[in-house]
Amino acid sequence: MTAEQPFPRAKRGGRKSIGGLALALLVAAYAVSQPQLNDRFGWQLPGFSSTAQTEPSSERPPSERPSSERPPAVSPATADVPSRTTPSGAAPSSPEPAIASPATSNATAPLYGLLTEEGNERYRSPAGLLYTRGSQEGHRLKHLERHVADDPDRPGPHGVFDGGMPGALVTVDAAYRQALAGSKTTRKDEDRRTVYTIDLGKRVGYVGGSEGQRRRNPIAKRVRLVLEQDRVITAYPL
C-alpha cells in the first residue's frame, strides 16, 4: 500500500491545482465584471483594489462613513473644478464657505469655478441656469447647499448630491442639458413653473432624510429640477 501512496497524493495535488486555477479564474472574472455591474445596476459590490475602500457602502449610511469613504464627484467634468478635497482626496460633503456671501466673492473668478456673476447676486451656470436670490435661505445657491449634506432628522426624503457644491452644480447642469434634449426626462408644467425629473443613468447622490435613513440611504440616479424659465427654484437627487 505504501508504494501506491505517491499516486493518490499526486492526484490530490492535481485536483488542488485545478481548483486553484478555477478559483483564480473566478476571481479574475469578478474583478473585471464588478465595476460594470456596479455601474449598470447601481450595486455596491466590493472590489479588490484600494478603491473599494473609497466606494460608498450600502451597508452604512453615508453620514456615518469616514470622509475617505464619501462619494467622489459625480462627473469627470468636476476635474475642472477647483474643489476642496479632504486629505484622503474625497470630495467634501460640507458646503463651500464661499457661498456664505455670494455678493462679496471675487467677481472675476467664477464661483465654484463654474458660475459667472451677472450682478445683483445672480450667477449663471455653463448650461445657462440662473441662480438668484430667493428661498428660505436667502439665495438659491444657499438652498442648494442643503442638498450636499444629509439631514437625517428631516421628515420624509432628502436628496443629497455627491461631490459637494461643485459636484451638485455640475450634476444639475448635466440634468438640465439632458432635460432640454428630452432624453429620459419627464416634464410637468404648472403656471410659470417647470418640474423636470431626469434620469441620468448613474449615481448622482443618495436619498437621505428620515425616509432615506429608513431605507438605508439608497443611491439616487435621478434629479428633480424645478425651474421658472432658466431660474433654478430647487434641485435635488432622488
Binding site: D153, P155, T234, Y236
Partner: protein, 135 residues
C-alpha cells in the same frame, strides 16, 4: 430653523418639499397661517394641498395675504399650539413632525399640551410667538 415643525403633507408640486404651516404677523399685530413648501416656495392659503398653489416671485417671494416677505422676520414655522389656534391641527400630518428645540410634547403623536387653545379660536387671535427661526 429651515425645516417646518408641522406639515400638512409633502408638496405635490415639487415632491420632496414639506407643506409646512407658517405663522405670519401682519403690521396690525394680527396673525394668520399659510402652508408653505420649504423646498419650492409654493404657497397655499388653506391646509388643503389638493388645491392649486400660488407661486410667488422667485426673487422676491411675498405672502399672498398682505404682501409681507414670505421668509421675513415677521413669520416663523408654527408650533403645535399655533396649529391648533388657527384651526389647522386636524390637517397636520403627525408623521411629518420635525422635532426642533421645543420639548417632546410638541409632537402631535403625543398628548397635546393643556394650554393648546380650542381649534375654533379665530386665527387673528393667535398670539404672536418669537421663535427666532425666521430667515
Amino acid at each position: 430653523m429651515p425645516t417646518p415643525r408641522h406639515s400638512v403633507g409633502p408638496c405635490p408640486s415639487c415632491g420632496d418639499g414639506l407643506g409646512g404651516i407658517r405663522i405670519y404677523t401682519s403690521p396690525g399685530g394680527t396673525t394668520y397661517p399659510l402652508v408653505v413648501c420649504d423646498e419650492c416656495d409654493a404657497v397655499w392659503t388653506e391646509p388643503d394641498l389638493s388645491r392649486r398653489p400660488t407661486f410667488p416671485d422667485p426673487e422676491d417671494a411675498r405672502s399672498p395675504i398682505d404682501g409681507q416677505p414670505l421668509w421675513g422676520a415677521d413669520s416663523h414655522w408654527a408650533d403645535l399650539a399655533e396649529c391648533a389656534a388657527c384651526g389647522w391641527l386636524a390637517q397636520v400630518d403627525p408623521t411629518l413632525h420635525h422635532h426642533g428645540p421645543l420639548p417632546a410634547d410638541d409632537d402631535p403623536l403625543a398628548t397635546p399640551p393643556a394650554d393648546v387653545p380650542p381649534a375654533d379660536v379665530p386665527a387673528a387671535d393667535v398670539p404672536p410667538a418669537d421663535h427666532g427661526d425666521a430667515s
